[in-house]
Amino acid sequence: MLTVRVEIDDFNQGQEIAALQKKRTDIGAIVTFTGTVRDMTGTLTSLTLEHYPGMTKRELERIGQDAITRWNLLGCTIIHRYGTLKPGENIVLVITTAPHRGDAFKAAEYIMDYLKTSAPFWKKETTKTDSTWVDAKDTDDQAKDRWS
C-alpha cells in the first residue's frame, strides 16, 4: 500500500501508476506530483542532491503513513532521487490513489509540503562559475502549516 524508494535512477510515472492500479477496480482517482530540476536563470549546469541515507527513507515513510491515516487512500508511492541531475530531469515522484479525487489531491499536496520541510535532502546548484547550496523557502514552511 505504501512504497518508498530513495534512489539514483530515474522513474517512469506511467509504470509506477500501473503498479498501483494492477488488478484493482476500486480506484477512482490517481494523482501524481513530479518535481523536476528547474533552471531559473538559464545558467544551471547541474543540481546535486545530498541526503542522510539512514533517515530519508524512514522520514518519507512516516510522511506517507501520516497521509494514509489522514485521508481515504488506496495506495501511495513516494520516490526521491539523489546524486547529480541535469536541468529538466526528474527529482521526486508522489502518487496517491483513492476512491475519490479530493482525497488523492489533498494527500499528494500534504506529502509534498511535509517532504519539502522535513525529509533530509539538500540541493546544491552548479553553474559554469560556481556551486551554491539552495536556501530553504519560507513559503514551504507556510505551505506545511496549513495542515495543522
Binding site: G35, Y52, W133, D135
Partner: protein, 83 residues
Amino acid sequence: MKILYFAWMRERIGTGEETLTKPETVHTIQDLITYLSTRGEGYAAAFEVHMLIRAAINEEHATLDSPVTDQDEIAFFPPVTGG
C-alpha cells in the same frame, strides 16, 4: 557518540562524520552545539547561524533541548531543500 554533518555544515567543518566521547558538560543538543562551536574555525562557521541549524538523534528530528547520550548518532544539518 557519532556525529554527522550535511550540506554546507559538512563543507565548513571539513568532514561528514566523526566519533567523539561525550563531554561531561553535554546533556542536550544545545550543549553539544555550544561545545562543538569551540572546536575551531570550521566548527564556529558551521554553527554560527544557530537559528538555521537542525538536528536529529538516531535518525529522528530533535530539538535544542533533546537529551543526548554517548551511544547516540547525532546529525546536524541546514534546513532541508529536497523535493
